[in-house]
Subunit: 358 residues, 2 copies
């Protein structure tokens, strides 16, 4: 993952109350970030200041390596996204995004309720010029390195135009953050031929084929982990199901393996000896390594962390937010959509008669 | 998995030329089946008789434990499904299904090209009364036992009526083959609330909620492997992507583990000691255990095996075909769709205004 150049400096708001563990994890992540990124990344922790300060005390630092802004409310995991936006104007999430809206920070990181972060960000920051639908992108490890998958849940019902723009935004993202030039974009479908898939993918394939993106065609479920593409495009329904299925697989394999190792002494010794290797596998597959899921297409930088994020995941998300802001990812997306975009007619027309306008 | 009662007897056609390895694997599977099921399952191998006989010779049996019917053609993996049906009337697949159509066998098993098997079966045998769309079901292992997932590829574009019928057919299947009474049916979606998901799942949820099925509501991608449901319903696009992704995960983990074990001697010793346990895990996760994918909803029994099937997978598919035929699974599906079905109006109406008719 790219890091800041020595001349770059950013200021980031961190929703201290978000996530399953609230300030206890977020504060530790912020301290890790301060150590790693130093003065190039100024952090502003937004949340219950008493709780934040209490967490800081655990680390026996002279002063907290970040600013604290008190907020009186918290968006809980059970809050409705839209209600929390309407009613909880003083929440740590709302205050963080307001800071960004006013230009006082360059990015926001939150491990809160995904739907709420998305809704707050979209309503507070608005959409980027030309973007029809913002999308959530995640990073999957692959045989080769990593692949960016989007959308993974923001848009359960999509049209071809939306998927096309996801391809553009995903390309810019992986180009910026993973420093891949001319990233390969694949369309997740069932069957490699352009005519295979559902109505949505058949129409989207046409848009991609006529574009300047480095489109490798349809890919199948089995191709995701091989690293055949740098960007995998799908609608938010399919992406979310695959993401959650993938998250559950490691635990399933472990429980099966434990059951089979059972009381057999040799198997147990074997498992013990393999522990360091298996830990390294787990680390490679751990989403914490990849720094949260960017909400692409809003007019600002918002990184959504998993509710169960570790301090390391928070720290890495701060790193991604910093590079996204410093490298002007949104300017790049805007330019790319201008060069590689759809005509006004295509933006509005029905799905069946697309052709790209270069 | 259920086995035949001692009084049951069936006759099954086996497409000897199907699959990546053709007769070499299919003949071995048939011999394993003959040993395991004895005279209760009469097998008819359809294919190039010279090639089949040559394979039989390898086993040094006095006589082949099955009948052989010669066919002159083979549907290859690269043939178009519809073209193969129109042009290759003498293929092993076509001849097998013709035997079933004429009532000379009770079921057909093929490891051929999935699309071709589906097309041939549908056109030769026709749909079951009341069935809108046949679906392909697969069995996934879970933390508890197994779950049946459908559709996994026959129908990339679905309406709520189709998904509803998949639920009915999947229930009957797992009740018959896995002997689960009142199987729990889950609808694969993103979010557990009935209002969450895409348009298709929101509409399907309403149909299931009003039905007599044991509907547990929406489930998420992470719930598939926990065994929360006995039947997981989804459209063929989502199901196929999840199936192929799942098939790729084992290999990905193995390659990652091998890389991490690397040249470290202790890790290597550990891996060696764990081999028997890991082999048992692999066996449990091996699709070969679960006997192929039934094509549910056609007026006959057709079991589709993976192209790369092992002899054991072929043998188990024969077992599933035998029980499906002997227990009259299609009569049960027809009855169930009669009791638990949609009204004529619902079968034709748009998706938005469904309510179930009991």
């Amino acid at each position: 993952m790219k890091r800041l150049d020595s001349s770059q400096k950013v200021r980031i708001a961190l929703d201290a109350m978000g996530g399953d563990y609230g300030p206890s994890v977020v504060v530790e992540g912020a301290i890790m970030a301060a150590e790693e990124f130093g003065k190039q990344v100024e952090l502003v922790l937004v949340g219950n200041s008493r709780m934040i300060e209490k967490e800081v005390e655990r680390f026996k630092l002279k002063t907290a390596p970040f600013e604290i802004i008190h907020s009186s409310e918290t968006v809980s995991m059970s809050d409705s996204a839209i209600q929390s936006f309407r009613k909880k104007k003083g929440s740590s999430l709302a205050v963080s995004l307001d800071l960004q809206k006013r230009g006082e920070v360059n990015a926001t990181v939150s491990a809160g309720h995904t739907g709420a972060v998305m809704t707050h960000a979209l309503f507070t920051l608005g959409r980027l010029e030309r973007v029809l639908r913002p999308a959530i992108a995640v990073v999957f490890p692959t045989e080769k390195d990593v692949t960016v998958i989007l959308d993974v849940g923001a848009n359960p019902n999509c049209k071809a135009q939306h998927l096309y723009q996801f391809g553009v935004m995903g390309s810019v993202y992986t180009n910026t953050i993973h420093e891949k030039s001319n990233p390969k974009v694949g369309l997740l479908s069932i069957g490699e031929e352009s005519s295979k898939g559902n109505e949505l993918t058949v129409n989207t394939n046409k848009l991609f084929t006529g574009s300047n993106l480095n489109f490798t065609g349809n890919i199948e479920g089995r191709d995701v982990l091989t690293g055949k593409c740098d960007v995998v495009v799908c609608d938010g329904f399919v992406g979310n199901i695959m993401l959650k299925f993938a998250e559950s697989v490691g635990g399933f394999f472990r429980s099966q393996a434990k059951r089979q190792v059972g009381k057999n002494i040799l198997s147990n010794v074997g498992a013990f000896l393999m522990r360091p290797a298996l830990r390294r596998v787990r680390e490679k597959l751990d989403y914490a390594e990849y720094g949260g899921a960017p909400l692409l297409g809003v007019d600002g930088i918002t990184i959504i962390c998993h509710g169960g994020s570790s301090p390391k995941a928070i720290k890495n998300a701060i790193g991604v937010a910093a590079v996204s802001a410093a490298d002007g990812i949104n300017e790049k997306i805007k330019n790319n959509l201008r060069i590689n975009g759809l005509t006004g007619k295509q933006m509005k027309t029905e799905e069946n008669d697309f052709s790209i306008d270069k």
